[in-house]
Subunit: 195 residues, 2 copies
DNA sequence: CCTTTCGCAATATGATCGTATTGTAAACGA
DNA sequence: TCGTTTACAATACGATCATATTGCGAAAGG
């Protein structure tokens, strides 16, 4: 045999190439040859690690979910171990879904690319459903630490509003309808009346 | 010459066929032959009315903007000439953006299909930007009739929140993350605290 | 009437797609 | 060392894409 190779790592490399193309030129520009060119190798090598293009796209989609998860976790955990107040943490959690930095923009563009694809594949929509529920419950948990007790507000509804608001703002950011600063200010306005 | 034909009407027919395919199977399923099959004619006939596929897609995209405009106008104007209160009108205006009925779902699915396309064509994004501003000012106008005067609330911010919220809810509806009733209830919750 | 022009269909063309097949160098087990 | 297995490259293949070309019946104008 030739040198043994870490298959998972190789697969991840190709998934990365898919990402770069999908973010810049959309999913429709993701072909075997463009991925091979982006990864600097041959189509045959991709075929050696993925039985079909669909498997390659499936890994790229799974990577998307992982990356979003990491981004959210980093926002909550706080890379500087600064223990902030619960309201600041909640704000960071919600800001993590806005494509304000380059990483966020890539995530959002790839997410948008997979959005319509998901509409026609309900079985893969189930995976995103789970992620959506996790997000909702995380926001609700943080909300509970923020709002004044005995306030008549419905935490679940507040969480649903905040999550939908952030997703709508993400779309507007991608389209350039608002700036990152405006989006953050809009979110802040809604957060200010939460209690 | 053979019988003279209304070119605009013919073009509209093909754009309709594009719509049906895009809504059911996505933009990537829109090809010259699928459109011809959907319209029940030949590829040659489409070519006779559109110099290229891009022109066909451009008309379909323009039709999207027109249809959204009509839908919003109908929601505000009220097909039953019932003169409702300003709050009911505002709610109808915002509900018009939610894909709760079949027409709305088609609009939203086609809109999603064109979304990523727009991300890579900034010159066409400008057209949607104008529509977004019109929506914002319409919501702000209706808000001004609803809120108590002398309230300290920022109407522009309120409008931005409501529009982003509705767009986020539209995404969630398409993905099946919420039902139409839940989305309406979430919107209502936010409307209830506007004054 | 008859020539021109429009409306449309059929087919040709070349590019590109995903995938299957084949070839080959490298390195391990026997 | 020799055959088998792994990692890849190269290329072949058939389908499908957008578009160009060609042909032809119908009808309006001279």
């Amino acid at each position: 045999m030739p040198r043994r190779v870490d298959h998972d790592q190789r697969r991840a490399e190709f998934a990365e190439a898919v990402w770069r193309i999908a973010a810049e030129r959309g999913l429709e520009a993701v072909t075997m040859s463009t991925v091979a060119a982006e990864a600097g190798t041959s189509v045959g090598r991709i075929q050696h690690y993925f039985p079909s293009k669909d498997d390659l796209l499936a890994l790229a989609a799974a990577t998307l979910r992982d990356r979003i998860d990491q981004r959210v976790r980093a926002a909550i955990g706080g890379s500087p171990p600064a223990p902030r107040g619960p309201m600041a943490t909640l704000r960071e959690l919600l800001l993590a879904f806005l494509p304000t930095d380059e990483e966020g923009r890539v995530l959002a563009r790839v997410g948008a690319a997979f959005f319509t694809h998901t509409l026609r594949h309900p079985e893969s929509a189930a995976r995103y459903r789970r992620g959506h529920e996790l997000i909702l419950s995380a926001v609700a948990d943080h909300l509970r630490r923020v709002r004044k007790p005995s306030s008549g507000s419905d935490v679940e509804r507040e969480a649903q509003i905040l999550v939908a608001l952030v997703q709508g703002l993400a779309d507007q950011l991608l389209l350039g309808h608002v700036t990152a600063e405006e989006a953050a200010a809009i979110l802040q306005y809604q957060l200010d009346r939460v209690p």
